[in-house]
């Protein structure tokens, strides 16, 4: 598999971080590295939308929340009282429900994490489809506004609907048994295993998107970015390609939400907040727009620092500031434009004065 060689540096880096933490006695960092991995899953999906297809979404925290909240709700909301209802009986017959005891010892019947995950991701894809068809006809600021509106709606729903727990969100979310013996769950006992599970999932995601970018479809997406008129005239179904890319990134965001929710054992409305969406856009921008690697590195680094509390109360402000700086100095992304040239020119102009 020569085409997978590009993953080697990433694999080495993942192992190196683990060893470094073990060596310095800071294994607790792996918790934040695991959470950052899941956020990065969202970021690389958004990177394809922004950097390659040339669209923007200020609503991706919404898709993350759809994934996380549905997974949390399905795997915690007790269906025991509805045991005789036909849909519940059908789910049970299909083996999609698990029974157990709640904290008070009462009978509990909930959806299995796998079934909840599939349902949550399908829901996100469907919503992306329904939102995307009208919204992706828009361009630039209008698209940004429309996706922002979508994000706000999801946030308000998370906050207002009792089923989703209001301001408290949903807690007590059970572990997600991906494979026998491999469960996504928090707690220091599972820390190292979960670090590797998360990064394996990211490796998978990166591989899929890398393949996509370096294919006929990836070329068509970049063509849309370059000149939509010409792409149309050459036979690229631009509307469909934009829509599929949007849906794909929504699926990545929803998966990130599902996984992180199981890892954290819960989810709250702040995950659906508009500032989260802004943060993701800022990360893709600072990563170089059309650079999966840049998005991955920046997504991991900035989220890690943020989760460690390095930015303190300025957390959101830092990401806002990053966005402003990028838009001012390198709207195409740092690695894209000759920012070094620009800086040099700026400096030499100073010298002439």
């Amino acid at each position: 598999m020569r085409r997978l060689l590009f993953l080697i540096p990433l694999v080495l880096a993942i192992a190196a971080v683990h060893l470094l933490c073990a060596w310095t006695g800071t294994l607790y960092y792996l918790t934040q590295m695991t959470m950052s991995a899941y956020y990065s899953l969202l970021v690389i999906g958004l990177c394809v939308v922004m950097g390659y297809a040339g669209q923007i979404s200020l609503g991706h925290a919404g898709f993350f929340a759809i994934g996380g909240y549905l997974a949390a709700a399905f795997t915690t909301r007790n269906l025991a009282g509805l045991q005789d209802a036909l849909p519940v009986r059908m789910l049970d017959a299909a083996g999609l429900l698990v029974s157990g005891r709640d904290v008070y010892g009462g009978a509990q019947l909930v959806v299995t994490p796998w079934a909840a995950c599939v349902a949550a991701v399908l829901a996100a894809a469907l919503i992306a489809l329904l939102i995307g068809i009208p919204v992706l006809k828009l361009k630039g600021h209008y698209l940004a506004m429309a996706t922002l509106g979508f994000g706000i709606i999801i946030y308000k729903i998370a906050l207002a609907v009792p089923y989703f727990g209001g301001a408290d969100g949903i807690s007590e979310v059970p572990p997600f048994n991906l494979l026998p013996g491999l469960a996504i769950t928090g707690g220091s006992a599972n820390r190292i295993a979960n670090y590797y599970i998360a990064w394996t999932l990211v490796l998978l995601g990166v591989t899929l998107l890398w393949n996509l970018i370096h294919s006929r479809v990836g070329r068509a997406l970049r063509a849309i970015h370059g000149s939509e008129r010409a792409a149309d005239s050459i036979g690229v179904d631009t509307a469909r390609y934009k829509l599929y890319t949007f849906m794909l990134s929504a699926v990545f965001a929803a998966l990130a939400g599902v996984f992180l929710t199981h890892y954290n054992g819960g989810i709250g409305p702040s995950e659906a907040g508009v500032m989260k969406s802004v943060r993701y856009v800022a990360i893709v921008a600072v990563g170089g727009m059309a650079h999966i690697w840049g998005a991955l590195v920046m997504g991991t680094l900035l989220n890690f620092l943020s989760l460690r509390g390095v930015f303190g109360t300025y957390d959101d402000a830092v990401f806002g500031a990053i966005l402003i700086l990028i838009m001012l100095f390198a709207p195409e992304g740092i690695l894209q434009t000759g920012i070094m040239d620009r800086l040099r020119r700026l400096v030499s102009r100073r010298e002439e004065d």
């Binding site: 006929r216 070329r219 970049r222 063509a223 370059g226 005239s233 050459i234 599929y244």
Partner: protein
């Protein structure tokens, strides 16, 4: 039956009638030119034919099929290619990649096949690359394959746009002022190229201001003025048409 039939095509922009009940046909295998003064509606006519713009009234039939309600990408996949008056390169992509995008309608790897790199996608990708390199070679651009297309010289960009259109293996090629901005040598080169493409079996409809080029290579000419067809016929007849002479030389 003609390859392209334009029937009473009309397009208004507000109060302006940019294309006014234009009808003509393009037979298979010919080079047909559309000429006319600036603002006559030539580019608008091309946009209507390729469905980049919807007509206010009238019909276009291509290859026996009514284009009513079709999207530009559908028309393209039916075998109609075009170039733009103000060259439209895919910026941020190399010359080779630009041409490879041209192979889009002649290949089929979709989202899932590409993401999972299904085994059959690799030979397809190799074929796309080889065909595109061959086309660049045909147009004398082989050395520039890996250069960013939008950074090339004007004439070279024109040639890349040409190669990109040819990669679609079109049956009809619409060229909007292919010689604009070129010097006389390059213009002569483009003329030879167009004839060569025609000889390969591609029908050509072109808009061009360079009269000597038009008169030399085209089999038939349509003259537009203020959105209307004022003359139609072989080059010799058009050169002697009093209306055309009046428009081009002034009263």
């Amino acid at each position: 039956m003609a390859l392209l039939e334009v029937d009473s095509l009309r397009r208004c922009f507000g109060g302006l009638v940019a294309v006014k009940d234009v009808s003509f046909a393009v037979e298979k295998g010919v080079i047909k030119a559309v000429i006319g003064p600036n603002g006559a509606g030539k580019t608008t006519l091309f946009n209507l034919i390729s469905r980049a713009l919807a007509p206010t009234a009238g019909r276009v039939r291509f290859d026996g099929c009514d284009l009513q309600g079709k999207k530009p990408h559908q028309v393209a996949s039916m075998g109609m290619a075009r170039t733009f008056q103000n060259i439209e390169m895919f910026s941020g992509m190399t010359a080779l990649e630009n041409v490879m995008v041209g192979c889009h309608v002649r290949s089929r790897a979709g989202f899932l096949a590409s993401m999972f790199a299904l085994p059959w996608t690799r030979p397809e990708e190799r074929k796309i690359r080889e065909r595109s390199l061959a086309l660049l070679d045909l147009l004398g651009l082989a050395d520039l394959a890996d250069k960013e297309a939008a950074g090339l010289a004007f004439g070279q960009q024109r040639a890349v746009e040409f190669a990109r259109a040819l990669a679609m293996e079109p049956t009809l090629l619409l060229l909007d002022e292919p010689a604009a901005g070129l010097n006389i040598y390059e213009t002569a080169e483009v003329g030879r190229l167009i004839t060569r493409i025609r000889d390969l079996g591609v029908t050509i409809l072109l808009v061009e201001h360079d009269m000597s080029l038009v008169m030399e290579i085209s089999d038939e000419i349509v003259v537009l003025s203020f959105g209307q067809v004022i003359a139609q016929g072989p080059p010799q007849a058009i050169q002697q048409d009093p209306d055309v002479v009046r428009i081009y030389l002034g009263e």
